[in-house]
C-alpha cells in the first residue's frame, strides 16, 4: 500500500516536472503536423463501504471494503496532410482494495491472500476527426489484471455531425473477453480443481465475454440547452456469477452461486444540460434499464453547477436509483433444492439507493497555485445509502494539466 501511495506521488511529480519548461505558444490558425500534447488528467479516489449482506458469506456478514484508485490519462494530437486531426490517448489505472468478505473465502486463515488485491488496467485509444466532413472514427484496446480476474477489451466508434453542426449521431461497439479464476469457498473445494493447491497456483478458470453496441444522438436545442439520447444493447455470455459467492439453502447446505450463462441488458438514457443566466448550469441524466434476469431499474441524477466566479464553481448533486430484484435472488437460507439458479448477492436484490454530495472546481487563467500547466483542480465527495443497509463514501480528486 505504501509502495502504491509513493508511486502515485512520483507520477504526480513526474507530470509536473515534464511541464516545468513552457513551450512556445502555438498559432491557432496553424495546424501542426507534429505530435502535440493536449492534456493529462490525474484522478485519485478513496472509497469505503460497510454493510451486513456480504455475498461471500451467503448474504450475511460484513461488506466492509476500501478501495484506493488512481488513473492517469494523457492525450496527444497531430494533423495529417489531409488536415484530419488524429488524437492518441493512453491511460493507466491502479486500484488497491481491501475486503473483509473476501477474507472469508478461507476463514481458517487469519489474513488470506484474498483480503487485499491490486488491479492494474492500461488502455490506449485513437480517433481521427475530419472537420470538413464532420466525421470521427476511432478505436481502442484495454487490459485489466487482478489476482483472480483478467480482461481484454476492444472498441470501435464512429460519429457524424449534421451539416449545421448542431446535431451529432454516434455509434460505438465494445467487446470484453474476460477470464475468471475459479476460487471456491474453502469448504467447497475438491481435489480435482477449483481449489488451491499447496503452491496456491492450480485454480481453474472460466470465460466471461461481454459485447455491447451503443447508438447516441446529441442535439443543440438553442444557445443554452443541449440534449443527448443514448440506447445500448449489452450481451454477456459465460460464467456470470462469482465462484466465491456462497448460497445457504433452507436445509442449511452451502452451495456456490449459480446464475444463467447469458444476460441481455438494454439501458436507455437521456442527458440534458441547461445554462441558466450566467452562473448556473443544470446537468441532468435519466436512465431506464431492463435485463432478462428480471431487473428493471430507473436512475435519475441532477447536478447544479454554481459558478461563483468564471474560474471557481461548486456542484451539489443528487442521484436516485431504484431496481427490482433479479429472479434468482433470495436472502440467506431461503433458496430451496428445486431452484435451478440461485444467488444471495444483495447487489441483485430489490432496493432503492440515494447518492448525494458536492464538487468544487477551480480553473484560474494563471494556473492552479500559479502552476502554469496545472489547468484545473476538482474535488468531489459523495455519500451513498442503499435501503439494504449498505453505506459508502467516496472522495475524488482530478488534476488536469494542459
Amino acid at each position: 500500500m505504501k509502495k502504491l501511495f509513493l508511486s502515485v506521488i512520483f507520477m504526480y511529480l513526474g507530470i509536473l516536472a515534464s511541464f516545468s519548461q513552457s513551450s512556445p505558444k502555438s498559432d491557432s490558425a496553424y495546424k501542426s503536423r507534429k505530435l502535440t500534447f493536449e492534456e493529462a488528467n490525474l484522478v485519485s479516489s478513496y472509497y469505503r463501504q460497510d454493510g451486513n449482506n456480504a455475498a461471500t458469506t451467503g448474504g450475511t456478514g460484513s461488506e466492509k471494503l476500501t478501495d484506493f484508485s488512481n488513473t492517469i490519462d494523457v492525450k496527444f494530437s497531430l494533423y495529417d496532410r489531409h488536415f484530419r486531426k488524429h488524437s492518441l490517448t493512453g491511460e493507466i489505472g491502479i486500484d488497491h482494495y481491501t475486503s473483509a468478505s473476501s477474507d472469508k473465502i478461507d476463514p481458517s486463515t487469519l489474513s488470506s491472500a484474498s483480503h487485499a488485491d491490486t488491479r492494474i488496467y492500461p488502455s490506449v485509444g485513437w480517433t481521427m476527426e475530419n472537420t470538413d466532413k464532420g466525421t470521427t472514427i476511432g478505436g481502442g484496446i484495454s487490459f485489466s489484471n487482478e489476482f483472480d480476474y483478467k480482461s481484454f477489451g476492444a472498441n470501435l466508434s464512429f460519429s457524424k455531425k449534421t451539416n449545421n453542426r448542431n446535431g451529432e449521431f454516434s455509434a460505438k461497439i465494445q467487446a470484453y473477453l474476460d477470464k475468471v479464476s475459479l476460487i471456491y469457498p474453502i469448504e467447497l473445494r475438491t481435489n480435482t480443481g477449483g481449489g488451491r493447491g499447496d503452491d496456491g497456483n492450480d485454480y481453474g478458470s472460466s470465460n466471461r465475454n461481454s459485447y455491447s453496441a451503443a447508438l447516441a444522438w446529441s442535439q443543440i436545442i438553442n444557445d443554452k440547452f443541449q440534449v443527448l439520447l443514448e440506447a445500448e444493447a449489452i450481451y454477456q455470455k459465460g460464467y456470470l456469477g462469482l465462484p466465491f459467492h456462497r448460497v445457504y439453502f433452507t436445509d442449511n447446505t452451502v452451495h456456490v452461486e449459480n446464475l444463467p450463462s447469458t444476460r441481455m441488458k438494454i439501458p436507455l438514457g437521456i442527458r440534458a444540460n441547461y445554462f441558466i443566466g450566467d452562473k448556473l448550469i443544470l446537468r441532468s441524466w435519466y436512465r431506464n434499464y431492463h435485463d432478462d434476469w428480471g431487473i428493471n431499474s430507473n436512475t435519475a441524477q441532477l447536478e447544479t453547477v454554481w459558478k461563483i466566479t468564471p474560474f471557481v464553481s461548486v456542484t451539489p448533486f443528487y442521484r436516485f436509483y431504484q431496481q427490482s430484484g433479479a429472479d434468482y435472488f433470495a436472502p440467506y437460507r431461503v433458496h430451496t433444492g428445486p431452484d435451478e439458479f440461485y444467488t444471495s448477492n444483495y447487489d441483485l436484490s430489490k432496493f432503492t439507493s440515494h447518492f448525494y454530495g458536492a464538487g468544487f472546481r477551480i480553473a484560474p487563467p494563471q494556473g492552479v497555485f500559479n502552476i502554469q500547466h496545472l489547468n484545473s483542480l476538482e474535488l468531489r465527495y459523495g455519500h451513498y445509502q442503499r435501503t439494504t443497509g449498505l453505506n459508502s463514501d467516496i472522495i475524488s480528486l482530478n488534476l488536469k494539466f494542459r
Partner: protein, 80 residues
C-alpha cells in the same frame, strides 16, 4: 377499493422519449459557432465527468443496472 396502476412498459417509455425528441427537434434553432460560448463551457459537456469514473465503477458493481452513460460495460472485476 381497487386501484388501477398504469403499467409502464418499454413501449410507453420509447414513445415518451420519442415524443420528447420530437418536441426538442421542433423547438431547435440553428446555433452558429460564434453563438456557442455557453454550450462550449466545460461544465456543459454531454458526458459524465472524469472525476466520476470511480463513482460509476462502484455503482456498476453495487447495482444491477449499467450502461447508457458513455462508460464501459464490461471488463475488470472489483466485485467483492
Amino acid at each position: 377499493m381497487n386501484t388501477y396502476k398504469l403499467p409502464v412498459t418499454r413501449i410507453h417509455l420509447m414513445a415518451a422519449l420519442g415524443s420528447l425528441l420530437l418536441l426538442f427537434a421542433s423547438s431547435c434553432k440553428t446555433v452558429k459557432e460564434y453563438q456557442k460560448n455557453k454550450l462550449n463551457d466545460a461544465e456543459m459537456n454531454l458526458s459524465s465527468r472524469k472525476i466520476e469514473k470511480t463513482e460509476q465503477n462502484f455503482q456498476s458493481y453495487r447495482e444491477g443496472a449499467s450502461g447508457a452513460n458513455g462508460g464501459k460495460t464490461g471488463g475488470g472485476c472489483g466485485c467483492n
